[in-house]
């Protein structure tokens, strides 16, 4: 009920407190993330349906390299934690630490995307691209959609580093950093589903 009340007061009263605006932006962004989750769930559903349709092509067991996957997973997990540390620095108002945390997070995220692109290119160069089988089509669609999200997250993070450096930790900048943190942690959660269902279940 409190959210509804504050929405009404926002409509009637332009002099709205900052925390109310940020709360609404946060909830709105959360609802976007939930719609994104539904997008991913449809891709997961199609992967599970097509996951064993190899068309005499390679299977997951032949393609996936688990130590390499563990490296990707650790990159993303560590980047989630370093982003959390950047958020703690933001709440303390320590601008340089925020920039440092974002830079480390960016590098870890960039490492993840680089490893994934390298994996994709290796598979495609061996003729195991998305056109090979229904399994590989749904694999590239699901994992590629996640990778695209992470890449856009990196662009967003680069923009936020610029905003923190130029504008400082103003309320709108803090609100954006908060939403980017939700986006980043959300992508790490989707990755748990991907490495469990796509890779580990495919290799076992």
């Amino acid at each position: 009920m409190t959210t509804k009340d504050s929405t009404i007061s926002f409509v009637h009263n332009q002099e709205v407190a900052h925390s109310d605006t940020v709360a609404m932006q946060t909830l709105g962004f959360w609802i976007y993330l939930m719609s994104d989750l539904i997008l991913f769930s449809t891709l997961f559903a199609s992967f599970v349906v097509f996951g064993r349709s190899y068309a005499n092509g390679p299977t997951g067991k032949e393609l996936f390299d688990l130590p390499y996957l563990l490296g990707e997973t650790l990159f993303l997990l560590c980047s989630s934690v370093t982003y959390g540390l950047a958020m703690l620095a933001m709440h303390d108002g320590r601008k340089k630490r925020v920039l440092l945390g974002l830079a480390v997070t960016f590098l870890l995220g960039f490492g993840f995307v680089s490893m994934e692109i390298n994996e994709f290119l290796g598979m495609i160069s061996q003729g195991h691209g998305p056109d090979r089988s229904a399994f590989l089509s749904s694999f590239f669609t699901l994992v590629g959609t996640h990778g695209a999200h992470v890449s856009f997250g990196l662009i967003w993070m680069a923009v936020m580093m610029g905003q923190v450096a130029v504008k400082g930790l103003t309320v709108p900048v803090q609100s954006r950093l908060l939403r980017l943190s939700m986006f980043w942690h959300f992508l790490d959660i989707v990755w748990i589903g991907i490495f469990s269902i796509v890779y580990l279940m495919g290799v076992r």
Binding site: S19, T26, W30, S41, G84, D92, K95, M201
Partner: protein, 108 residues
């Protein structure tokens, strides 16, 4: 440059301790399914169950320690939206698998 009041946003600020606790738990819950599959020492059904339990556990760890979702009133609307989304996901994924396996069976 005083820190602005952006608490009470449904996603609370967390602490160093909560991030590090979450990190350690997530590491353990990542190591378990990888070890299960890479060692190959366990039967297929045990491995599948282990992957699922560790995966769901790690998702809960991330939600609680990184996204700070809990039962507090500040997070209530976020949790409510997520519960509804999980219901929709269950309908999508469960319905898809049900229909497709049924079609597959009839095509045999």
């Amino acid at each position: 440059m005083s820190p602005a009041p952006i608490d009470s946003t449904g996603v609370s600020r967390g602490s160093l301790k909560s991030y590090l606790t979450g990190f350690v738990l997530a590491l353990i819950l990542t190591a378990i399914p990888f070890a299960l599959v890479m060692s190959g020492a366990w039967s297929s059904s045990v491995t599948v169950i282990g992957i699922f339990i560790a995966g769901i556990g790690q998702i809960l760890v991330h939600l609680y320690y990184f996204l700070h979702l809990d039962t507090s009133s500040a997070a209530r609307w976020n949790v409510l939206a997520m519960v509804f989304t999980v219901l929709i996901m269950f309908l999508f994924v469960g319905g898809t698998l049900w229909i497709m396996s049924n079609l597959n069976y009839r095509m045999m």
